[in-house]
């Protein structure tokens, strides 16, 4: 509260991007967590902007009508305000700048967010996703793979989860030796097991190979991983970095596996650029969306110049390569980049989505994110700027994963149980710090922060509202749903994600076929139920429709509230 200089400013105007002449007059309130704009109109419409979602607040030079203030959010919403008094504007700017850049974990919204759940429910909510059960679901053969306690209390690798799956044949000494030979101790461990081909996806960080170093433990580890797939005679090591970057790392005593030292591995470079390239690329993409009255050429040129879709294609290509190796060739794959928590997470999770239809369901995607991103360690607080820190650590790694899924949804409209809204909701929550799921950078950090006792879990909340996130075209017995997805990665398949980056433009009137289809589905079900209960009174069906319609209206009302998260 001590950061709020002015809790309330009156006669503030908020502008609509598309129709700059149109604006709403209202009052601006600053709370410790939200900035709230309440319109003076009859409806008293409220717009809530979460401070932790603000990425940048900017004040433009004062003009005769007042001081303009632009609030840009991490979910790409932009709010344009005009504050009558320059002094108020300066105060609001100073307050928001501080409030939107928390310095300690304790200041994050999740620690004050209270959805009124009792202790028992909260614990149950945190147990909603069970990764142990997920590894069982994959059908790992117990004679080949097992969970090792080597990382108990995170003593081997502080950014890995305490429970790791490794080939049963490797001894504890090999595990320790392999961890020592890998950057930050992130040794090769199982990420996904593909039952149909018995090939697996493992992940790690880069080896500390330099120009000549080798480790027999690490070599044994890879050998064991390869042998855990009885049918194949070699395995792939997928280095997701451009080869040049990987080679440059050798000078720092890191690098990539020497094919002469490891028996029967094939090294494959994919060429996903590093976090700095991605950050700049996304900024250019956002700038394209910000253009005022662009021509078609401005837009397409900007899109090309940002390089964004090229990077999305690189990530998807990595996933496609791995999925093909695992499913079609039946060859196991070890994936790594430098530290094994950005590009590696992207490549493994995209491959998993392609390989396993479970990850294309609502629950399955949650499990996948929990496994490949949360549990295996991903620097959420740095990448998504949860805390005020080094801007060079910020990068849209997860954005790219979600976008790959979206691009796949464009190609396979019937294959995913969830819709675009679900992805956008996930994206917002990864940045917003409202729930505890994405706080901290690894399991150990989260445990130390006691997140499970102090914050709430997002997953059950999304699950309860799953009706809103359901793709009406999804059927679990549809041909597109079955088996491995083989997407085209031709350049023309990649589209600008308007739902994500084009959100500024929303005043245009339009209709949603998805909502309409969902309504049709719901109504059908309702009619079915009514029919079975009122067999003799078929006229009742009409009443049922009226109800359905009314519910539809309410549903839209809630939608508008969602906007302010």
């Amino acid at each position: 509260m001590e950061h709020i200089r002015t809790p309330k400013v009156e006669n503030v105007r908020m502008f609509d991007k598309l129709t700059p002449r149109k604006c709403m007059v209202g009052t601006l309130y600053l709370s410790s967590t939200h900035t709230i704009f309440v319109e003076n109109s009859e409806a008293r419409k409220e717009t809530w902007i979460l401070h932790s979602l603000m990425s940048n607040v900017e004040r433009l030079p004062t003009n005769p009508s007042g001081s303009p203030l632009i609030i840009r959010c991490k979910n790409f919403h932009v709010y344009r305000l005009l504050i009558p008094q320059e002094k108020d504007c300066v105060d609001v700017l100073a307050s928001l700048t501080r409030l939107s850049h928390p310095e300690r974990y304790g200041e994050l919204f999740c620690f004050s967010f209270n959805p009124n759940l009792d202790k028992e429910l909260r614990e149950k909510a945190w147990a909603f996703i069970d990764l142990k059960a997920e590894f069982i679901r994959m059908g790992i053969p117990r004679n080949l793979w097992h969970a090792t306690a080597a990382n108990h209390e995170h003593r081997l690798c502080d950014t890995y989860p305490s429970e790791l799956y490794v080939p049963k044949s490797v001894s504890p000494a090999v595990i320790v030796g392999s961890a020592k030979f890998r950057s930050r101790g992130r040794l090769p461990v199982l990420s996904y097991y593909h039952r149909d081909s018995s090939a697996s996806i493992c992940r790690s960080s880069q080896p500390l190979s330099g120009f000549s170093a080798r480790s027999s433990d690490d070599e044994q580890m890879l050998q064991a991983i390869m042998k855990s797939n009885p049918v194949s005679e070699f395995m792939y090591v997928v280095d997701t970095r451009p080869k040049l970057n990987a080679m440059a790392n050798r000078a720092a005593g890191k690098g990539y596996e020497n094919e002469d030292h490891y028996t029967n591995i094939k090294l494959q470079f994919i060429g996903i650029e590093n976090i700095h390239v991605m950050r700049n690329s996304q900024q250019k993409l956002i700038d394209v969306g910000d253009l005022v009255a662009p021509t078609m050429s401005d837009f397409l040129w900007g899109l090309e110049n940002s390089g964004w879709l090229k990077h999305i294609k690189a990530v998807l290509d990595a996933g496609v390569f791995i999925a093909k190796a695992v499913a079609e060739d039946g060859v196991s794959v070890l994936v790594h980049c430098s530290d094994g928590w950005d590009r590696t997470a992207q490549a493994c999770s995209v491959a998993s989505v392609l390989l396993d239809s479970y990850y294309r369901t609502i629950k399955g995607l949650m499990v996948l994110i929990e496994k490949d991103w949360v549990s295996f360690g991903h620097k959420f607080s740095h990448r998504y700027a949860h805390l005020d820190g080094d801007p060079k650590e910020v990068s849209p790694v997860m954005d790219q994963f979600l976008e790959c899924v979206w691009q796949l949804m464009q190609q396979f409209p019937c294959a995913f149980e969830f819709n675009e809204r679900f992805l956008i909701q996930l994206h917002t929550n990864i940045y917003s710090c409202q729930y505890g799921n994405f706080i901290g950078n690894c399991q150990k950090e989260r445990r130390d922060l006691k997140l499970q006792e102090r914050t709430h879990s997002l997953w059950p909340h999304l699950w309860e509202n799953r009706a809103e996130y359901t793709n009406p075209l999804y059927r679990n017995d549809h041909s597109q749903t079955q088996g491995v997805l083989k997407p085209l990665t031709t350049a023309y398949c990649f589209k600008f994600w308007k739902g994500m980056y084009g959100r500024a433009e929303k005043s245009v009137t339009s209709q949603s076929p998805a909502d309409c289809l969902n309504a049709v589905r719901e109504e059908s079900q309702q009619l079915e139920e009514e029919l079975s209960t009122h067999q003799e009174v078929p006229r009742e069906t009409d009443a049922g429709q009226e109800n359905c319609r009314a519910e539809g209206e309410d549903f839209r009302g809630e939608e508008e509230d969602q906007e302010v998260v």
Binding site: M296, T490, R521
Partner: protein, 565 residues
């Protein structure tokens, strides 16, 4: 010369057919006067491909042993057939001579000049009779249906012998107070005699959209009293009308040097002129060629693809057409003024803009019948020279003459509108695709010739079948209906922001794998809707529950979820 004289080799055995994404087939190839027929040789369940020769845009042949021994054993040739509907096929033909014969037959027979030799004059399916009704709409019918016109407007048959304007239909709608003598004078003052006629009368306020060609003011600023009176009569009591000139100010000025010109402020004091530049003719045709070329090379990198897409300028043309149509709608609906649209000849972009504006304004033109009627009145009867414009499509090597994809551009714009308002149009993308095909090569006579006069002379009505009638026959109609159709009375303003416009993948990527998944998705939509209708029973008059009648979803992005439906 008889058509059959072009055929030197009618049958070849052992031909291999290659199509994109299908295994190669071996079979018999047969050339007839109008078709290319391929059938595989299996006795049961044989598969046939029938291609209208008119549909073939270009052939490329490569013959082995061309300079070696004639009739050498094992000599063969390959003909690549590029169709106007963008399909590309390859035929491997054993025997060099046969190959050359077939290629030359295709070249001669696909480019027939005489209308009465074309296939529609020979197409005689058993289920259709030549004496059925021809066409759906006409000037007289439109006048009869539109009560608002009866007071101030009349149907004039001054052009009944096509002497006043060779490209106009025999009947046109003009202000009641302007007599035929004045029309004749006005026609002399307009290029090609295309004097201002009514195209649409807005059901809400009685304002009208007129179209014409440019006035022949010339360098000496000639005037025509009758033309001025005609336009004065259009706006009658009101103070203002808008002339949307589809050329830049500079182009309009330059047109005076060659005898054309524009309506000057001093002579047409109640009309305000707005210039909007539209590309025409060759530029559009080249744009289409570049776009198709970009789409047919899947090896492009993302950057190169975007750069080629931009460079083709096709989407820029879509953008300007929709923007100008939006401008017309703004004048008519929002400001309540009548509009005259013209460019130079008034046979291309003029029709494009006026018909798009009607689609946006008029709910009646968004039904299947209404839309076809609109095309019939505003394109076919209005004298769009289909035969010249659609002589070749994107692949032809022939020197461009009068080709121009104006109609394809219209279909693309309509697709963009449909994509943004997936519930507002009664017809589906399938209809637009069918029309895109029929306009270049058809069994039906609908798109033959350049204007009504030519069609009369050739006896099109008497000797061919009508496409539109056939599309509306009950067993065919359903595949062209939009399962999600919900009529709305409102104007549907499409967003013309570049990020809202997309490549029409359904057309331009029609023959790629990409299209298959979309087809499955469409089927899924149908099956959901049908299932629903069965449950809801026959009582329901409307197709789908109206959760969205004319309400607007809060986020525009919701519609992007199912852009492909």
């Amino acid at each position: 010369m008889e058509l059959s004289e072009h055929i030197k080799t009618a049958n070849v055995e052992d031909v291999t057919l290659r199509r994109p994404f299908h295994p190669a087939l071996r079979g018999t190839l047969c050339v007839t006067s109008h078709h290319l027929l391929f059938s595989d040789r299996k006795d049961e369940d044989s598969w046939q491909l029938l291609i209208l020769l008119r549909n073939i845009d270009a052939t490329e042949k490569s013959v082995e042993n061309l300079f070696g021994y004639p009739r050498a054993v094992g000599s063969s040739g390959t003909i690549t057939i590029k169709c106007k509907d963008l399909l590309v096929l390859q035929l491997e033909i054993p025997g060099m001579e046969e190959c050359l014969n077939i290629a030359s037959s295709i070249e001669a027979l696909s480019a027939l000049e005489s209308v009465t030799e074309m296939y529609p004059f020979f197409y005689r399916p058993s289920h259709l009779t030549l004496h059925g009704p021809w066409g759906l709409s006409s000037t007289e019918k439109y006048y009869k249906q539109t009560e608002r016109l009866w007071d101030r407007w009349r149907v004039s048959t001054v052009n009944s012998d096509y002497s006043v304007c060779p490209s106009y239909p025999h009947a046109v709608i003009v202000p009641r107070e302007v007599d035929d003598e004045k029309l004749v004078q006005s026609a002399r003052f307009r290029q090609g005699g295309r004097f201002p006629v009514l195209s649409y009368c807005h059901h809400r306020n009685g304002m009208v959209i007129m179209r014409s060609s440019q006035p022949l003011t010339g360098a000496n600023r000639k005037r025509c009293k009758e033309d001025e009176l005609l336009l004065q009569a259009v706006i009658d009591g009101s103070l203002l009308g808008y002339i949307i000139d589809l050329r830049s100010t500079q182009q309009a000025q330059q047109a005076r040097m060659t005898g054309g010109g524009f309506e000057s402020k001093s002579c047409y004091s109640h009309w305000k002129r707005i210039h909007r530049h539209h590309e025409r003719g060759k530029v559009l045709q080249e744009s289409l060629i570049k776009l198709v070329e970009a789409c047919s090379d899947p090896s492009h990198s993302v950057d190169r693809w975007l750069s080629k897409l931009e460079n083709s300028k096709w989407l820029s043309h879509v953008h300007s057409a929709l923007s100008t149509a939006g401008l017309v709608v703004e004048c008519v609906e929002r400001d309540g003024h009548s509009v005259l649209v013209h460019g130079s000849e008034g046979t291309d972009s003029t029709l494009l803009v006026s018909s798009l504006a009607q689609l946006i304004l008029d709910p009646a033109s968004r039904t299947l019948t209404g839309f076809l009627g609109l095309l019939e009145r505003d394109w076919i009867q209005a004298g769009h020279p289909f035969q010249q414009r659609c002589a070749h499509s994107a692949y032809s090597h022939a020197r461009l003459k009068q080709e121009c994809p104006s109609f394809l551009l219209l279909l693309d714009c309509v697709w963009q509108v449909w994509r943004q308002f997936p519930l507002a149009l009664e017809f589906s993308e399938a209809l637009l695709l069918r029309l895109a095909q029929e306009v270049y090569a058809s069994n039906y006579g609908t798109f033959l010739c350049n204007n009504e006069q030519e069609r009369c002379a050739a006896g099109v009505k008497e000797n061919t079948h009508c496409l539109f009638q056939s599309l509306l026959s009950p067993d065919i109609e359903e595949q062209y209906l939009n399962p999600l159709y919900e009529p709305t009375d409102l104007a549907i303003w499409p967003s013309v922001h570049p990020q809202s416009l997309q490549l029409w993948t359904g057309l331009f990527l029609r023959w790629t794998e990409y299209a298959q998944n979309m087809e499955e998705a469409r089927e899924e939509v149908w099956s959901i809707v049908k299932e629903h209708r069965e449950r809801a029973g026959p009582d329901r008059t409307n197709n789908t529950p109206s959760t969205h009648c004319d309400t607007l979803t809060p986020f525009e992005n919701l519609m992007d979820e199912l852009t492909i439906l």
